[in-house]
């Protein structure tokens, strides 16, 4: 059974075909380059078509209407901006497909294309509308929505760096969200709810650990089954216990934003970064903590060693199983915090399967972030941006049906996974149980 993130091993048949460049390009790199170019090209063409349905001025409000310091609202002429964005995309696509872009330029082309797509679609959506597109809301919402994704991605990073694939982030989220809702409702206390969520996350992580590390169950199968189990148990307890007594058991308090003195007053950056809930701050701090743990401590070195080469780690006297146990349980803390977001962190009430695939999006962020905490958190922010944009666009009354807007994050995940995965490499022993 292959592990979750197969690094592609070139076979003998992947011999270089073209020798007319000084640098020989592998078949995989060529394929990745061409598909990236084709994708950007298609999006550029779509934008070009949209130019004809764009009329009027697109307005972008940089500050919230209630902010003390009002930044100007930017007005952009709709059709010309969309046209320029379409042209930029097509140029970038041409650059990719021609293959004549030097290394640094191709990265630049990718960034330009990404920005042009975002700006182009937002301008198209906002052009001619009465309401300006709220940029501050969008960015603040991005950080807020990305919070569980960041925490889930950190959970994935810590576990997988030690060699245990975690497909069960979704299940850990769900259990933690449930625990936070129940304990929060009964105690009416946020710290107690957070504690319960962390406990639930660690408990589910220990199920993963015991079956993956002790009983050597295939980790992807295990993850999928744990998700089903989490969905079943929370669903059953919800139907049997919570639903009939929802006033007592499903009325958890929600977190209020805690403005950080002085910093929260900053225009644009203030509301985005410094007027958030405690969970958001925790997520940001966690990224630094995980980075420090993994790359600056002895424990982190051991975690990475057992994830890359467990035999070597064993030879120098590190207990592979113990380190993996520790890593999976520590990872559970983060998924527990992430799960709390769905109940006490946002709406307060639990409903069945309320995590709707966020655990898997977090897993995608792990892979695209190359198993690095900071990169994975950045990817989580990208997904948060898309989710938030989908909900902002719903309020703008675009001609796109709302069901399609809700699909956006999932489509973005597929594109990102398909577009980037060829260039990532998992920890070498990821998903392989260790037996002496």
């Amino acid at each position: 059974m292959s592990s979750v993130h197969d690094a592609h091993v070139p076979s003998l048949s992947d011999a270089p075909e073209q020798l007319d460049f000084t640098v020989v390009e592998s078949r995989d790199a060529r394929r990745a380059r061409l598909s990236t170019g084709a994708l950007i090209g298609v999006v550029g063409l779509v934008l070009a078509v949209l130019v004809f349905s764009t009329s009027g001025v697109a307005r972008f409000a940089l500050s919230d209407a209630f902010a003390d310091v009002q930044l100007p609202t930017i007005e952009l002429p709709g059709a010309p901006v969309v046209a320029v964005c379409a042209v930029l995309c097509l140029l970038a696509a041409a650059g990719f497909i021609s293959g004549r872009l030097p290394g640094r330029w191709s990265m630049l082309a990718g960034i330009v294309a990404g920005l042009a797509v975002t700006l182009g679609f937002l301008t198209w959506a906002a052009a001619g509308k009465d309401l300006p597109f709220p940029v501050a809301n969008q960015l603040a919402g991005t950080v807020f929505t990305a919070t569980p994704l960041i925490l889930g991605a950190l959970c994935g990073v810590v576990g997988e760096r030690s060699g245990v694939v975690n497909v069960a982030i979704e299940g850990q989220f769900l259990t933690a969200a449930f625990a936070a809702a129940i304990v929060g409702s009964v105690t009416q206390s946020i710290p107690a709810a957070l504690f319960a969520a962390v406990l639930a996350g660690v408990l589910m992580a220990s199920v993963l650990a015991v079956f993956a590390i002790k009983y050597l169950v295939d980790q992807v199968v295990l993850g999928v089954v744990i998700n089903l189990l989490a969905s079943g148990i929370t669903g059953f307890l919800f139907d049997q216990l919570v639903q009939p007594n929802s006033r007592v058991l499903n009325s958890a308090p929600t977190m209020d934003p805690i403005p950080i003195p002085l910093l929260a007053e900053l225009p644009l950056i203030g509301p985005v970064l410094f007027q958030q809930t405690i969970l958001v701050y925790l997520a940001i701090v966690s990224v630094v903590v995980v980075w420090f743990l993994l790359f600056r401590t002895r424990w982190g070195l051991r975690v990475r060693a057992v994830g890359e080469h467990p035999e070597a780690a064993d030879t120098v006297g590190i207990s592979v199983k113990r380190v993996r146990w520790q890593a999976v349980l520590v990872a559970g803390i983060f998924s527990g915090l992430g799960g709390a977001f769905f109940t006490v962190g946002s709406v307060g009430i639990f409903s069945k399967d309320l995590t709707v695939g966020n655990g898997f999006i977090a897993l995608a962020a792990v892979i695209m972030g190359r198993w690095h905490p900071v990169l994975a958190a950045t990817m989580a922010l990208f997904f948060g941006f898309v989710v938030q944009m989908a909900s902002q666009l719903q309020t703008l009354n675009t001609p796109v049906p709302s069901q399609f807007l809700l699909m956006l994050p999932y489509i973005a995940t597929i594109i990102a996974v398909a577009g980037l995965i060829g260039r990532t490499r998992a920890p070498a022993a990821d998903g392989i149980p260790y037996t002496k």
């Binding site: 089954v225 148990i233 216990l241 060829g422």
Partner: protein
């Protein structure tokens, strides 16, 4: 050089392996029922409350717990196999589970995790239902066209995943899960359009499927679709064990690099396997869309029509160890759980979601035979890990 083992010894080894599989599965099922019972007791405040007097009045606590558990489980049993009509309901629930289980199991054999049977079943049900309620076709042809439409829709939905995997290496677990959400979004959108929404209705529900596109009933809920599912299992068994395609599927599942070196087209095998798996899951959607319900008419297309068949299918495939015969039995078992679960919900007021817990627990225990052997001492378990996905078989 090792001597080839005598044939009788190999047969004996084979038989004892099968015997062990069966006993482990049985023990896992019993353990799952026990955990389920504990969950039921804990989740019922009245019953659990009696445990405060466990030492003063043990009879009260144990009696209440026994009543609760035995009522629920006997309702479950009666609803599954208690009467001819219960058996018919079990087959009706098993038919889509078998198809979707084959979809997951076939992909497992190629080393692919098809978590997307749900989405494939959704698009399959959409296509089949649409043909069923909007095309005016003569009786037998109508049914065949509707089934084919569902198969093709599912094959496309699964094939895309295979194509992405083969072309870009995108991991199918993530892609299939995202495709599930996209499929349900698509269905939600379609049910607001004039092509799918029932005229005169504002809620998301489709017109009723024509009688000419409905699977003929045989006895109460038992319909022709069940035999179609059994036939699908036979076809999958034949493909896997007797065809060139099946050989390359198993070779790619065992070791893609070796298969590639041996000259097999790994990418093409991946795409074909995922398309076939998608078609099988699409067939599960077809069963949901065209299979007659209790009143003899198929349930019209709505957002929850296929239920959670795609996720139940994962447990079916794992319990069936990704082998067609095993999947048929696992499908019947979980079909029984599902039919009995409905009875349990109405008779014993125990939520249907308990059956999901039981399913997941059974598979979890089956996956860890050493744990089962620790808990049930008279069972001997093999050392090391087992493969439920059959990819290295």
């Amino acid at each position: 050089m090792a001597e080839p083992e005598p044939r009788t010894n190999r047969l004996r080894a084979w038989a004892s392996a099968r015997w062990r599989d069966w006993t482990i599965t049985l023990a896992a099922f019993v353990l799952a029922l026990i955990v389920g019972a504990i969950l039921m007791i804990v989740a019922d405040p009245e019953v659990a409350g009696n445990f405060a007097y466990l030492f003063t009045a043990p009879g009260l606590a144990l009696g209440a717990a026994w009543t609760k558990v035995s009522t629920a489980y006997s309702a479950l049993l009666m609803g599954a196999v208690g009467s001819p009509s219960a058996l018919a309901a079990t087959t009706a629930a098993a038919a889509p589970l078998i198809c979707a289980g084959l979809a997951v199991g076939l992909a497992f054999r190629a080393g692919l995790f098809n978590i997307g049977a749900q989405g494939q079943a959704v698009v399959g049900s959409m296509a089949a239902a649409w043909v069923g309620f909007s095309l005016p076709l003569p009786p037998v042809i109508h049914l065949i066209v509707a089934v084919l439409a569902g198969l093709i829709a599912g094959a496309l939905w699964g094939g895309v995943v295979g194509w992405l995997k083969a072309r870009t290496g995108a991991h199918e677990v993530i892609v299939t899960i995202m495709m599930n959400y996209i499929a349900s979004g698509l269905l939600a959108w379609a049910l607001t359009t004039s092509a799918f929404q029932r005229p005169g209705r504002s809620d998301p529900i489709s017109p009723e499927v024509a009688g000419s596109a409905t699977f003929p009933q045989i006895f109460e809920q038992l319909h022709v679709g069940f035999f179609v599912a059994l036939a699908a299992a036979l076809v999958v068994a034949w493909v896997l064990d007797r065809s060139v395609l099946g050989f390359s599927i198993r070779a790619v599942g065992a070791n893609p690099h070796a298969a590639g070196t041996a000259g097999m087209n790994v990418g093409a095998t991946t795409i074909i396997t995922m398309a076939l798996a998608g078609a099988l899951a699409g067939l599960a959607g077809v069963m949901a869309a065209l299979g007659p319900s209790v009143n003899g008419v198929p349930t019209p297309l709505s957002e929850g029509l296929v239920g959670t068949v795609g996720f139940d299918a994962i447990t079916v495939a794992l319990l069936g160890r990704s082998k067609p015969v095993g999947i048929v039995f696992a499908g019947l078992l979980f079909g029984g759980l599902s039919a009995g679960g409905l009875a349990m919900q109405s008779v014993a007021q125990t939520p249907l979601t308990l059956t999901l817990v039981l399913q997941a627990l059974v598979v979890l225990f089956v996956a860890a035979p050493q744990l089962v052997a620790t808990l049930v001492p008279f069972l001997k378990a093999r050392k090391g890990s087992v493969s439920l996905t059959g990819a290295d078989a």
